[in-house]
Symmetry: C2
Subunit: 164 residues, 2 copies
Amino acid sequence: MTSTRHETEITAEEKVPTIEIVREFDAAAEQVFRAHVDPELYTQWVGPRSLTTRITRWDARTGGAWAFANDRDGVQIASFYGSFHQVRPHERIVRTFTYEGQPDGVALETLTFVELPGGRTRLRVLGVVSDFQTRDGILSSGMEVGVNEGFDKLDELFAAGALR
Amino acid sequence: MTSTRHETEITAEEKVPTIEIVREFDAAAEQVFRAHVDPELYTQWVGPRSLTTRITRWDARTGGAWAFANDRDGVQIASFYGSFHQVRPHERIVRTFTYEGQPDGVALETLTFVELPGGRTRLRVLGVVSDFQTRDGILSSGMEVGVNEGFDKLDELFAAGALR
């Protein structure tokens, strides 16, 4: 069996307070999109392997909202919430994101799903905040562990045929 | 009768793609906040004097959403929509903003209401987008006419006692 190991690229721009995440998947854009809007699927892959995700609010439509908590061994250790500003099926999601441990912090994230040859998809997540200190705080929070492990779990869901 | 003419300060940062608007009002923070969440009030003051505002969606709570259209002589000329990411009564509103004429554009706006001595309030609106081209496009769109005339109309509502 040939298996492709996909790397996640995380880029911090020098001139704007953004974080760009680019990742390819061996799945159609419709499937990668669905993994971001279907709460049953999302909870199975998002975040680091050491935590479980418990969704507490979910309406993945333009003007809807979301919230989830992360648990370790059944004990809540973090929670997050935001809005779905725009949901354009199979193409684009614009959402807001707040970690409740920093209630004044907020990021605006634009996810784009681009179909590639061979049934693959490139996901781009562009997050922006209003200052560099906040951006650099997010970068140094260890977020890449959750991003990388989450996308690896999503690869496993695709490989297992969970989204067929 | 002594009347204070309030100026609106609009600042574009050199290093981050933000637009900051600062404006003082002769009204309590609770009143300035209410003028931003009550749809009956909001529609009376927001935007330039040459247009009327027709709200088509409004749920000014954390996780809610909004949409309105601008009409000139009864004909729709523009529409806008977004989410209320966070509504913290009398203190803070975080909302997203898209002009439907540019459906891929989106700004994240944080409004803070700071009580000043003498029953006055300072409103700060900090908007951020993900690149300078978008930011400069907003600045050169003539947005300051709508901002200035809107806040002047809000002054008139306060002076008329409409929010007592």
